[in-house]
Amino acid sequence: MRRAALVGIGAAALVAAVALAQGGPPEPQRQIPNPMSGRHFATPETLAIQDDDFLNPAFLWVEEGEEAWNRVEGTSGQSCASCHQDARETMRGVRARMPAYHPRLQRVVTLEQQVNICRTERMGAPALPIDSRPLNAITTFIALQSRGMPVNVDISGPARPFFDAGERFYNTRRGQLDMRCGSCHEDNYGRYLRADLLSQGMSNGFPTYRLKEQRVISLQFRLQGCVNDVRGEAPPMGGEEFTNLEFYLAWRAQGLPVESPSVRR
């Protein structure tokens, strides 16, 4: 046991040393090396709704998203399909690797932001408000094309500073309750917070149909809720702080299958 632990530390040190030798920052270490999806903290009834594409109300959003995919909008007279053709092929794996570094914009963008970039820059159509029904419909439709694929975001190279900023946000104590994200999702998962069974706060199920809201919600809407829970001041959805946090969360969930559209209480 002790030996295994020592070997483990040795390996980590080695990785760090190699990274330093190459001039990159050291590999980050996950607090939860083998993450568990939120579905392990849901009741069988909720899972029964999630696991049946007919019972799952998020498929109403999927259908709206598919219609929007093929709808011509904006001044350039194009639809998403004009450039990206069949989403079942071209969008496969996209949700699993987003948020991602956008070389031209030189920053990390979420799936929501990428959709709006295409709308404003390519289609000449207005941006859709973050967490609005039409945007959630299209991201849910896109996310479905990656269902079952492992989350696999790239935090290397120019993406790293955005990841580091997300990690700092995650580990900062905030709100009147002076809690970090990990105070609930790392130190106390599997325990009850009032009536709520705490999960590890993994993001692989988003967008999700939330029973409480009775609609599909985006990840950043959930994040606002979590910050409000500690009586903190939540940054705006779609802003830089939450974008970086979402990037960090994707890395925390690295390897978990994309579950969108999941169902959560």
């Binding site: 392990h40 909720t46 029964a48 069974l197 029973l211 409480k212 209480r265």
Partner: protein, 153 residues
């Protein structure tokens, strides 16, 4: 091995499995109802005395969120022209208004079984009445615990 600080994956799963949808054990239908629910039941009942039995209500014994509680109601009946269930009424004892749904059935349905999803503002009893084509009336009543209340109806 020492006891882990946080439950193991198996522990979490076992905990979750305890919530599986089951046919809920009926409570005595005679226990006191809220005034609203009693009035609603009386409106259906008229001068008839409901009998217990025949109805099975499936619902989660503990609902994760009162906004979306899946329920299944089935009634033993041959569903023939001569002998069938005509209506199934569902009431929630402690919702702001007790009415939940009325299902109208015909022999064409073949089997008296319906499913829907309902809102429950708090832990409370569901009351189900089944009216047969011969005028006989059946009742059942069962409790659903709600951990997070829905906005009710």
């Amino acid at each position: 091995m020492t006891t882990p600080r946080t439950p193991t994956r198996r522990g979490v799963l076992a905990l979750a499995a305890a919530g599986a949808a089951v046919a809920i054990l009926p409570l005595p239908a005679s226990a006191q109802l809220s005034a609203g629910a009693q009035a609603a039941v009386d409106r259906v009942r008229g001068s008839r005395t409901p009998q217990e039995g025949r109805i099975t209500l499936r619902a989660p014994p503990i609902a994760e969120n009162g906004n979306t509680v899946p329920i299944t109601v089935s009634v033993e009946s041959p569903m023939t022209a001569a002998d069938h269930v005509q209506r199934i009424h569902v009431f929630a004892d402690k919702n702001p208004t007790p009415d939940v749904a009325v299902f109208h059935l015909t022999p064409a349905t073949g089997r008296a079984q319906v499913d829907t999803r309902i809102r429950l503002g708090q832990t409370q009893d569901l009351i189900v009445l089944a009216e047969m084509n011969d005028g006989s009336l059946f009742i059942t009543r069962a409790e659903v615990k709600v951990t997070i209340g829905g906005c009710g109806g």
